[in-house]
């Protein structure tokens, strides 16, 4: 056997057995009928796909898209100055990067519960503000769409910071001198020079944030309290409570198609990541 084959085999087997085949099963399920107690039965049908166009489900799709888009945009706005700062921080770069990655040391679930503890009616923020007499009644900080976006931005911010940092770190500082030398104020220099040059990093970061946000399940479930339903929750719901596996499978594939579409739309950089 050639060395190449030996090296490729483990990965290929894993991908084939644990990704491609299950995907085919999901595809098959999406064209079958629902069983009475979950599962699937014959006959073959495309009914699950036509049900997606129900306004109820379209609303969920639309909500998922805009929540993911807003979260991505917020991540970009927050991460850009941070990444620029870290890229120019000299000797403290490593420390700052480690701080960005520090949250990964504990599970996302625990961190989400921590946020809930902070934001609930009897949580730290509300009790503190009440004891300071800033507010008289607890503010609704949790179990709404705002909380979901906060949770997503918090969770995926590092995925925006890291690719941005990677491009900004390579930026020749002389370019900023040159921009200033040619009459550009710092703000203009950032807008006209730094931003366009760091575009690949921005695209990579946006993909890395938008895709998981679009399929988010945990955050809308916990921070949204089940009231802000996104695609991920819909899929979960179909496989559990609703016992409609074919429809769940159809939505899963739709989610995948949407992700592919986004990557396609973002062009070359997206293809690279594919």
């Amino acid at each position: 056997m050639k060395l190449r084959t030996v090296f490729l085999a483990p990965g290929s087997i894993v991908m084939l057995g644990l990704f491609f085949l299950p995907l085919l099963i999901v595809l098959a399920y999406s064209f079958l009928s629902r069983g009475a107690y979950g599962g699937v039965t014959l006959p073959w049908t495309a009914e699950s796909y036509s049900r997606i166009f129900d306004p109820l489900y379209l609303a969920i799709l639309w909500r998922s898209v805009w929540i993911a888009a807003v979260s991505t945009a917020l991540c970009l706005v927050l991460a850009f100055p941070l990444a620029l700062y870290i890229a120019r921080a000299g000797a403290r770069k490593t420390l700052l990067l480690n701080l960005v990655m520090l949250p990964f040391w504990t599970s996302f679930l625990i961190r989400t519960y921590a946020w809930m503890f902070l934001l609930r009616d009897t949580g730290l923020v509300n009790t503190l503000l009440q004891s300071l007499h800033v507010i008289s009644a607890p503010m609704p900080l949790l179990f709404n769409t705002g909380a979901v976006i906060l949770g997503l931005v918090y969770g995926y911010l590092p995925f925006m910071v890291l690719p941005l940092y990677a491009t900004l770190e390579k930026l020749d500082p002389a370019l900023l001198d040159a921009a200033a030398d040619l009459g550009a104020s710092p703000a203009v220099a950032i807008w006209r020079v730094v931003v366009p040059i760091s575009r690949p990093g921005m695209i990579a970061g946006c993909l890395l944030v938008f895709i998981p946000c679009l399929g988010a399940y945990l955050t809308p479930d916990l921070m949204g309290g089940g009231k802000t339903v996104m695609i991920g929750n819909l899929v979960q719901n179909q496989f559990t409570t609703a016992r409609d596996w074919p429809f769940g499978a159809a939505i899963s594939l739709l989610l995948m198609a949407m992700v592919l579409l986004v990557m396609r739309a973002l062009g070359d950089k997206g293809e690279e990541l594919l």
């Binding site: 002389a174 370019l175 001198d177 200033a180 030398d181 040619l182 006209r192 575009r199």
Partner: protein, 327 residues
């Protein structure tokens, strides 16, 4: 000559060293002025202080008679050609040249287009407007950097080792072109280089820096022929230190018989010779043990090692530097 840029006791001190220490000089309108010295002598820091990229620790900087203290780089009427050109990689040649013009409100679009075309023509880059910096050669990038600065008609153009990234042949071509360009447009050039030959051949005046201090300012002829310090003498060329005076190798003559009318003469023994292409360096040992190098044409050099000879030179060709420095 009217002064366009003046440095008064300009200093930049860092916690560990004094990069620039009380440097004063003035550049006239339309002058080609070089700042030369070895790496780490403070010449680039001086340039960055003038451009506004660094704040001086003390001292004054006057542009057209007005202090530029506290004025940020983007408000200073000087422009820099960077060592590695610092062209914007995402912009085309024309867009790079337009960058500075677009920052100035009084320029309408048609005016900008005309100025870009003129600037690119000046540096022989017409037809390359749409190229990106990574699609043109090093020499062309150099020209874009020049055009990008010159199009703004700055009071002084600051050039930070602009030729050092080019190969030797191109460097010599660009040297001449730079000189012609400067004569044509009449903008004062402040040219920073570590290459003394470049500085001497291009400049109206040269300033030599060493360890943050300005050693000497003068015309290329003056600083070469009558250096005031040992450092300047040795940085600008080879020197023979003979009896406390310095003499350049090309000023020393050689003969087999004792010279009759020479103002300075000494007996010596030929030690050897080094072929340098356009000339030969003959090394000789004086009776007092000191060494002397004589520069001469290849065809004149028929001396053999061990041969007894006489070295002589004119008094006008020798220079003296302060005692602590003399050999």
């Amino acid at each position: 000559m009217q002064t366009v840029l003046e440095l008064r006791a300009l200093s930049k001190h860092f916690p560990t060293h004094r990069a620039v220490d009380g440097v004063s000089f003035a550049i006239g309108r339309g002058e080609f002025f070089s700042l030369v010295g070895p790496s780490g002598c403070g010449k680039t820091t001086t340039l960055r202080l003038i451009a506004g990229f660094e704040e001086p620790t003390s001292g004054q900087l006057l542009l057209d008679g007005h202090s530029v203290e506290g004025l940020p780089a983007y408000r200073r009427d000087v422009s820099t050609v960077f060592q590695n050109y610092a062209l914007f990689p995402h912009l085309t040649v024309a867009q790079n040249v337009a960058f500075g013009l677009a920052r100035r409100a009084q320029n309408g679009k048609p005016a900008i287009a005309g100025k870009i075309a003129k600037a690119l023509e000046l540096v022989h880059l017409s037809g390359k407007e749409a190229r990106l910096p990574n699609q043109i050669s090093g020499g062309e990038r150099q020209r874009v950097a020049l055009a990008r600065s010159l199009v703004l008609e700055p009071k002084v153009l600051l050039l930070d080792e602009p030729l050092s990234a080019l190969d030797a042949k191109l460097r010599k071509e660009m040297r001449q072109e730079l000189k012609n360009l400067q004569r044509t447009i009449g903008i004062a050039f402040l040219f920073v280089t570590h290459d003394q030959e470049e500085a001497l051949s291009l400049s109206d005046r040269v300033a030599i820096m060493h360890r943050g201090l300005l050693e000497q300012v003068g015309t290329p002829q003056a600083v070469y022929r009558t250096p005031k310090t040992r450092f300047v003498a040795e940085f600008l060329g080879d020197v023979n230190w003979l009896e406390g005076a310095g003499v350049r190798p090309e000023a020393v003559r050689i003969s087999r018989t004792a010279p009759v009318s020479a103002e300075r003469a000494t007996a010596a023994v030929v030690e050897g010779q080094t072929f340098l292409g356009n000339c030969v360096h003959l090394s000789a040992k004086l009776e007092n043990g000191s060494a002397c190098v004589v520069e001469m044409a290849q065809q004149e050099c028929d001396f053999q090692p061990g041969e007894r000879i006489y070295l002589w030179w004119q008094k006008a060709d020798e220079f003296r530097v302060p005692n602590e420095a003399a050999a």
